[in-house]
């Protein structure tokens, strides 16, 4: 978004960090602790190459994120714009950005 003030940008950065932590927590639960214990999850981490996430595991991740964030974050609409390869080839950061954008959008605004 252009024209964001410095204060708002700092605010966004801290929200992004928080959401990244929450997504990583759900990811570790889906993958299982045994495999994910020493795994560093950043915005640049890819679901397919880095995490080798199965598509059924992405379903489970989306399920947890839907539960965590509720109605304001429309994961169904987000995923509807992609096919399975596009979903699984995403970076963790793309999901984080989508969540942050949804959480920050005014409740009255329609989706793009």
């Amino acid at each position: 978004m252009s024209g964001t003030s410095g204060v708002a940008q700092a605010d966004r950065t801290s929200i992004e960090a928080q959401v990244l932590g929450e997504v990583a927590e759900d990811l570790r639960e889906v993958i299982g602790e045994e495999y994910s214990l020493d795994l560093e999850i950043t915005a640049e981490t890819t679901f397919s190459q880095d995490l080798e996430l199965e598509s059924i595991e992405f379903v489970a991740l989306a399920d947890r994120l839907r539960e965590r964030y509720g109605d304001p974050v429309d994961f169904v609409g987000f995923l509807a714009k992609m096919d399975v390869d596009q979903v699984i080839n995403m970076h963790v950061g793309e999901v984080v950005q989508f969540i942050v954008d949804s959480l920050r959008a005014p409740a009255s605004a329609g989706s793009a």
């Binding site: 199965e54 059924i56 992405f58 379903v59 489970a60 399920d63 169904v76 609409g77 096919d83 399975v84």
Partner: protein, 302 residues
């Protein structure tokens, strides 16, 4: 994870609705995936989220023994699968007729469900259903044996373990356990053939989709000839894997079928950049296989 107990089995279910929830008169769509090497995720990403976003109330679930549903030791006959589906709709409180969308074995199951429980079914979409009046059990077993061939071939197994990594390795192990530790193989062989008379009286509309290059394309015309209200769509340059290959067109086709059937049927324009062909090892399989062959059993146990 959303889990329900239906027909005494723990099933993994995902309900997908548009933002703000589905309208009270929205089509309820149930998606039934294929067998052994498949789970709900194929439908979830190809059609589930898209149809939900377009307004449908979508139910995706993992069949018994698949994905994140319970792997029971037995209960993989067609009748069990139908009872699981009825149990699922009951526990979810779905009291309106549903649009069942099935892929491969899931489509065969959908057709059987339409015959058995037509009062609960609004329409059927059958994507690549194995369909025979005689010898359906052997056909189902043939599909299973194709998977066995893929799993048993050392070169393929090696490639999967080394090159394709964790994902394919886990899918392979999961399929091995399903075939090796449950009655699914013998249950598939016992699949009863469809009744000509029952099909001729099927009271629900059917949308049947096949790939022109599918190994079971020969079964399409027979189905369309018997079922009274059948719209047959054959996709040029595609195989049995149409759900994966032609996702974009299937979204449009299902959107028309479920939400806008008064509009003209969408036209299919075959892909020019790539033609999909059925691999030779699939077409050269000789039915019916003897799944009890010791060498198969041995391969399964390793």
């Amino acid at each position: 994870m959303t889990e329900v107990i239906a027909n005494d089995v723990r099933l993994h279910v995902q309900r997908l609705t548009p933002k703000g929830g589905a309208a009270t008169d929205a089509p309820v769509v149930v998606m039934v995936h294929g067998m052994v090497m498949d789970n709900m995720s194929s439908f979830y990403f190809a059609l589930g989220t898209w149809l939900a976003d377009a307004g449908c109330d979508v139910i995706c679930y993992d069949l018994r023994g698949h994905g994140r549903s319970e792997r029971t030791a037995a209960g993989y006959q067609l009748a069990d699968s139908l009872a699981d589906l009825t149990g699922l709709l009951d526990v979810l409180g779905v009291d309106r007729p549903v649009h069942v969308v099935g892929n491969s074995y899931g489509a065969t199951m959908a057709l059987a469900y339409g015959l058995e429980s037509s009062d609960r079914v609004a329409s059927l979409t059958l994507i690549e259903p194995p369909f025979l009046i005689e010898g359906l059990g052997e056909e189902m077993a043939r599909s299973l044996s194709e998977i066995l061939v893929a799993m048993s071939d050392e070169e393929v197994a090696g490639w999967i373990e080394d090159g394709a990594g964790r994902v394919a390795g886990r899918a392979l192990r999961s399929a091995r356990r399903l075939i090796g530790e449950t009655t699914i193989a013998t249950d598939m062989l016992a699949t009863p053939p469809f009744s000509r008379d029952a099909l001729a009286a099927l009271p629900v509309p059917v949308l049947a989709v096949y790939g022109e290059n599918s190994d079971i394309i020969g079964q399409a015309e027979g189905l369309a000839a018997l079922v009274p209200d059948c719209t047959l769509v054959i996709l040029a340059h595609h195989t049995h894997m149409v759900l994966r290959e032609a996702t974009a067109f299937l979204r449009v086709l299902l959107g028309w079928w479920l939400l806008d059937r008064d509009a003209p049927q969408p036209e299919f324009h075959p892909p020019t950049e790539r033609r999909f062909e059925t691999p030779e090892w699939v077409t050269q399989m000789v039915p019916p296989p003897n799944l009890a062959r010791p060498e198969i059993a041995q391969k399964l146990s390793t």
